[in-house]
Amino acid sequence: MSASADRPARGSPALRLHRELAAIWGTGPGLQRLAAVSHSIVGLRFMATAFVFFAIGGVLGMLTRVQLATPEATFMSPETYNQVFTMHGSMMLFLFAVPMVEGIAVYLTPKILGTRDFAFPRLTAYGYWCYLFGGTILTGGLLAGVAPDTGWFMYTPLSSNVYTPGINADVWLLGVTFVEISALTLAVEIVVSILKMRAPGMSLDRMPIFGWYMLTTALMMVAAFPPLILGSILLETERAFHLPFFDPTRGGDPLLWQHLFWLFGHPDVYIIFLPMAGVLSTIIPVFANRPLVGYPAIVVSIIALAFVSFGIWVHHMFTVGIPHLALAFFSASTAIVAVPTAVQVFSWLASLAHGRPRWDVPMLYIFGFFFVFAMGGLTGVMLAIVPFDWQAHDSYFVVAHLHYVVAGAFAFPMLAALYYWLPLLTGRKAVHRLSVPAFWLIFVGFNLTFFLMHLVGLRGMPRRVYTYRGGEGWLWLNLLSSVGGFIMTIGFALVVIDLLAQLRYGRRVRRDPWGAATLEWAMPIPPVPYNFASLPHIATGPDHAAPDGLAASLARGEGYLGFARNGWQETLGVHMTSGVPEQLIILARPTYLPLYTALATAAAVLSMLFHLYPLALAAALLVIGLFLLAAQSAGLSREYGLLPVGHGVSVPPHTEVAGSPPWWALIFTLVANGTLFTSLVFGTLYLWIAAPNWPPAETFAPDLRLAVITIAALAVAAVGARVSLWALAAGGMTRIWIGLAMLGLLVAIAADAALIAGVVPRPTEHALGATAAALLFYVALHAGIGLLFFVSNLLRLGAGLISPRRTVDLRLTRLWLDYTVLTGAIALGLVLALPSLVAILGARP
């Protein structure tokens, strides 16, 4: 069957339905594409942009190999080399690997889970634009010769303004934070969408294993990115405003940066790996011609991996002087993380061993993955052993290891995924004459490049050196490694040519060319904007769909929502565990708002980069205004009650249910926020116990009365939010209670600001004052955001978007204020306790 044969026959009911849905879900041509919010378009943009950054990062990697190919090379100056290797790592990790994972998740997850889009299409688009602009800032810095140059992990004090006085480090801190905010928004969206927007009947035990991987990965992102965002904010405030969080001469500690960075950095390895493992768990059963072995065991191992990966960050810090006993916790945990990984590897091998495997291009890359991942895993266990790590630390052995586990374990499954799912986009399969040699060039080149780095590392070559003398025994290994790098690059270039050739000359394929059993193959090729003309009902186990038979029935509208209504972009929200339909979710249509908001955000970031703070403030206010404007166009103008969705089922719209996507999104946002707050508390206590030059010369004595006023005013605001919700249900004085709550927040902000103004020692003089000010600022910021919630509530009440059955806005505000009161009490309690904590430091020997 050709690609065009997947379209409904002319004049059929299916064609009529297709036209109606395409008119609703489609994105206009030309400049209107900038308004796209469809997950298919945004997902493809993510992947294409990530490939561009991969190409730039790859060229930078090649430049480092040219420099190191021969001793005493003058190809690059040391200063340029520092920028090149820093940008290579930063681009590959922050602008390629994580965004590529997000792109795959955004594009594929709704299709595999049998739904029409993600829960917050405008947020998806905003996330993409933030990523693009953040990446552009970093790339612009490279072109302007002011790229970051202190290594991709930005260790302090090297990255402080004492040793890196230009804007190089600021480009990293602001650009990467910009990109991370994008990642965080997408993570929340992925979690909510997987939990609430699967095909009807798709209970968690019937969910394709890919969904479990993506759900866990997104939850990890929710918890892992906030420590890095906090660290970046603290370091930027140190650089811009001289708050000494990491300056040991003023009570800061450079190791705090390492803790915050690796609290993100190590889980990030698994954030990159797990989605690729999801790809493998999806593809291998298809080519093994049998279901995946050990589905429940894999789910357990994913959960174990997710948690244990957070508990091993200190293995990046084995040489900083932590006592042996504490190192042993992290050494043992690092070793044991191999177990859940091995469970998955053996499950894949068992699936192949008990099936009837067949070879095709994706399987070549899966073979490549097994080889490099086993190597990387073994060296990982070696580096988990503290004495070995002390010997190999900061040597090229570590560079080799990280490329095997991050680059190899990501690149090979990614290419397998590319060849596997490309027929879904193009309706054609790869040209073997190009794709097979491309694989072997990449495989041989990769191993030649990075295996030899183990050896040169064991011979003592340190990381990050821009040249060497030549008599150390490193010459031939470096030269061959560089040759390998070029072979690998030729392989990747051949892949690009192969993909272009596939578009033109590839073999046309019928639907579901691999004989898969997941839902993305039950849609037209290439996918239509609405994915499915009607939503399937899932009544079988995971990965047991029969796409070929299902597709025609869905196209005829025989599933759920097989019709168009009110011009709405409709999809179904389901019960989290059982998959029973429980709400009709009406999604946002294409809009330029995400683009404008991201542009305003970029203006704020750029203004901060060039220290134009009034302009940054103005841009930030514009961002807030645009978010409020976006909120005004969300929801429905009246109550609808139950609406039919097909198969005799009727459900209310999402605006009229308790567990709507915005509610869950705020819960997971608060989880991320709570992680950031916990990191801030950890940072405060860490500096107290570990930093030099404590206690400060001046006595710290926060005003108890102001602290009590702050917390009491926050409590009043939280009560006001609660009562306003009751008043709405009772038809009472909602606006008055909102006004009272806003007054409470204003009082809290004023009292908190007075507390900040009275902090002694001054925040620029000692880390004690800086951390106290940071904790207090956190409280004020959340109270301020609470005010914005209320402003939005008032605007939406006025617009008739809130009613006794449409209460989600007020419930979101209540939840936000509950969180603000809780964290406010902890933050103020810690600030009040700091004098006592400082006093007992005198008991130290």
């Binding site: 357990v300 997710a306 006592p323 042996h324 006993l325 043992a332 945990s333 044991i336």
Partner: protein, 112 residues
Amino acid sequence: MTTRSVPPRQLWWLAAGFALWCSALAVLYAVHAIGCAFAWSAGPLRLGLALVLLAHLAAIGWMWRSLNEAGPGLELSRTDVFLHTVGVWSVVAAFVTTVLTLGPPLLLTMCM
């Protein structure tokens, strides 16, 4: 079996065991750092760490027992059976991980 929906709150059981492992690791690391900073005697510090570990093991063990006693129940759906199985094995894995990663280090020299 019926198709009664499993309450979403039961999903917390999937994470509860390893969340306690994380808590054990964080508390042990913190208590050890504070003890070493203030030069507490090795004996009481080791005892304190052991008590922290035992408290966490007891909590994870209690969860294991509770899950086993509760069982998936005959009147519940296959989703419940699946989530119960995954929950039990997650708790078991967390218990073993806690013993193996946090137990033996307590035998080492305290603050060297």
